[in-house]
């Protein structure tokens, strides 16, 4: 895993080696510290510190009035957050797993995302909705959905998805500061899979900007979330075989950084999009459209998509077949390179 860091961290700011989930915990701790209107709501986020321990220690430190165990009620959590947010609070709502966000879909679609537009800015919902997502951790049914496309197709909300500890803390703080609602997707597969240097200070990573993780010449690999380390690995392996892959981590899924995609594909002339969610309706199609719109004349081969199949995320005995494998990625990369 590349642990390239931004400018500021290359200078001599203090850092700590953190996992992705620790970085998010630290981000939450900091905003609770700095903004008295910040509060956390969710199922088991208090005493238990969250089923993944993302909010570990926060209730103890900031009090049960700031870090609040709610009833088991996703529409309740989000609907109440709307009311809190329009009245000056800055709620951070945890949805225990993204597969359980669906009961709140109505509140998010018809209110969270629309209140600013409906009231010409008179009311707004500065709400962060955190949701662990993705397969590959042998979780029970429904726990492993990747539902980003249901939210990127929802005007009025932003969708963010860090892949690394550094980005996780910085994007979380940016999401918190954002005047609009942000869905903050946490790849649970990456929660503890590696550590990297994370500045101890308060910093943001800009929403709407992707990141080039590996420079390459022959083909652009575009991905996000838990796929990022895997795609990097594939890129490194292919380098040895003489294929030079550029790897882009989108980091923000709405609004997508079109420039970083366009620039890279103009250079390489070839692209593969990789994501976990099912193929049809997946965000990969948006990336194909962006390439179509911005780099058509540079394309040397059709864009390939390596995605989850058009099936529900299966029981865990089959999940590794559902998820994009290095073999499928390589096959697609070779296909575009040798087109």
């Amino acid at each position: 895993m590349t642990t390239e860091m931004d400018q500021k961290t290359k200078s001599n700011v203090a850092t700590k080696k953190l996992t992705l989930i620790q970085a998010i915990n630290e981000g939450m701790d900091m905003v609770l510290e700095r903004d008295e209107n910040a509060l956390i709501l969710g199922e088991d986020v208090g005493k238990n510190g969250g089923v993944f321990r993302a909010t570990d220690g926060l209730q103890e430190k900031h009090g049960p009035d700031r870090v609040i165990d709610t009833p088991l009620s996703e529409s309740g959590i989000i609907g109440t957050s709307v009311g809190l947010a329009v009245n000056g609070m800055k709620p951070i709502a945890e949805i225990q797993f993204m597969g359980f966000i669906y009961p709140a879909y109505d509140q998010i679609m018809t209110h969270v995302s629309r209140i600013r537009a409906r009231t010409m800015g008179r009311f707004s919902v500065p709400l962060v909705i955190r949701a662990p997502f993705g397969a590959g951790v042998r979780a029970p049914e429904i726990h492993s959905d990747s539902a980003e496309a249901l939210f990127t197709h929802m005007p009025g909300i932003k969708v963010v998805c860090p892949a690394t500890p550094y980005d996780a803390k910085g994007l979380f703080i940016a999401a918190f500061e954002d005047p609009d609602p942000v869905l903050f997707m946490e790849p649970m597969h990456n929660y503890r899979s590696f550590r990297e240097d994370v500045p101890t200070e308060y910093y943001t990573v800009e929403i709407g900007k992707g990141k080039k993780r590996i420079d390459g010449e022959d083909v652009t690999l575009i991905t996000w979330g838990a796929m990022v380390p895997l795609v990097e690995k594939v890129a490194n392996q292919l380098k040895e075989k003489g294929i030079s892959c550029e790897v882009i981590d989108l980091r923000t899924l709405y609004p997508i950084d079109q420039d970083i995609i366009a620039e890279s594909v103009k250079k390489t002339g070839r692209a593969v999009v990789i994501h976990e969610a099912p193929r049809t309706g997946g965000l990969g199609n948006d990336v194909v459209s962006i390439i179509n719109d911005t780099a058509f004349l540079y394309l040397k081969a059709p864009v390939e998509r390596v995605t989850g199949f058009d099936v529900p995320v299966p029981f865990f005995s089959l999940e590794n077949h559902y998820l994009p494998t290095p073999e499928r990625m390589k096959k697609a990369i070779e296909k575009v390179v040798h087109f």
Binding site: L39, D65, T70, P71, S73, S75, G76, I78, G79, T80, S81, V82, G83, L84, A85, V86, N87, G88, M89, P103, D106, Q107, T110, H111, I115, R116, A117, R118, T119, M120, G121, R122, F123, S124, P155, G156, K158, P179, D180, G208, Y254, P255, I256, Q258
Partner: protein
């Protein structure tokens, strides 16, 4: 309506005082103020229906028959309270301080209709049924957190009690003891579905038991009954004693909306025994000597004038601005959206 379950009443259909426990609080001023507001929103409602028939505004959901509920509840509120209405509660909103021109604009498909006057905590009408109950819980919870004694009221209909958000809203309010008033207008119908097919329970008030929320059933066509029960609930809320569920039993006199035809589903004559809430108040005022000719005449002319002016202003309003389609979705609209806007404006300009 179910007459089998008793409900709180202060004045009866004939305008007689039947419960004297609050009579010391009944004054000429209160009665006249109630009358003024009920007459005002009734006239607004009539005007809106007629504008719709003439194609001057869009589909409109009349609240005729529900004026005592809407005015009785809204008048009990205080400046800084929060109001979370449905599409049928523009009477309550106007009483609490909505702008009338903007209310007409709302029903004419204009965004401006959702923007309350500066300083007024009036949410835009919830169209997806029952969703606003949770917003009221959240907003009133925020007041509690800030240490104020402001409260929030959520309006909703009998049909709304069937949605999950009704339940989740009451449970949150109960668990966190938020200063929220759940104000139900049981007007007998959810579009074509009568109360008895919406639920098997004979009252809505009894649903409070599920959450140990104090609840009360009140004659929603009796201004005073609504107003005094609201005051009880508000007192409880402001003093930190949590939410209340109020079932105001009333009657939708007309159609669900101007696009609806109630003769399709409502037995002929049903509801004809319901005494109009304004008539009932008039009777009471006459009984008490509060129904003064000059007051009535002033009220009528004042209201007519206000409404005429509002209609005029609505119709003279600058054309809907295409830029508004794009500009309020985000505080800082993303580049893609600005591209969409610019290219569309360019196309329009080039026509």
């Amino acid at each position: 309506m179910n007459k089998a379950y008793p409900m709180k009443q202060v004045i009866d259909d004939q305008g007689n005082l039947v419960d004297t426990s609050s009579s010391s609080q009944i004054s000429k001023e209160l009665a006249q103020n109630a009358y003024y507001h009920m007459y005002r929103i009734r006239t607004f409602d009539k005007k809106a229906k007629s504008l719709q028939r003439q194609g001057r505004i869009g589909t409109y959901p009349p609240f005729e028959g529900q004026e005592a509920s809407q005015v009785g509840s809204a008048l009990a509120l205080r400046e800084n309270d929060w109001l979370f209405p449905t599409y049928r509660d523009h009477g309550a909103m106007l009483t609490f301080g909505s702008n009338m021109t903007r209310t007409f604009l709302y029903w004419n498909g204009r965004l401006e209709g959702c923007v309350p006057p500066e300083g007024k905590n009036i949410f835009p009408a919830a169209v997806p049924i029952a969703t606003q109950l949770l917003h009221a819980v959240g907003a009133s919870w925020a007041e509690k957190r800030k240490g104020t004694d402001n409260i929030a009221i959520a309006y909703f209909g009998d049909g709304a009690t069937s949605e999950g958000d009704f339940h989740e809203g009451l449970n949150f309010a109960s668990v966190f003891q938020t200063p929220t008033i759940f104000f139900n207008q049981n007007n007998g119908y959810a579009i074509s579905v009568p109360f008895e097919r919406q639920m098997n329970s004979r009252t809505i008030a009894q649903k409070g038991v599920a959450y140990d929320i104090p609840s009360v059933r009140v004659d929603g066509n009796d201004f005073f009954a609504v107003y005094f029960e609201m005051q009880e609930a508000i007192k409880r809320a402001r003093s930190g004693n949590g939410p209340t569920l109020i079932e105001a039993v009333t009657w939708r006199t007309g159609a669900h909306t101007t696009a609806d035809d109630p003769t399709k589903y409502r037995p002929e004559g049903l509801g004809q025994d319901v005494v109009d809430p304004i008539v009932r108040l008039e009777r009471f005022m006459k009984n008490q000597g509060y129904y003064e000719d000059e007051f009535i005449a002033t009220t009528q002319s004042k209201v007519e004038e206000e409404i005429e002016a509002a209609v005029k202003e609505m119709e003279a309003y600058p054309k809907a601005n295409v830029e508004d389609l794009f500009d309020h979705v985000y505080a800082n609209p993303p580049e893609q959206l600005m591209e969409q806007k610019n290219s569309y404006l360019q196309l329009l300009g080039g026509e």
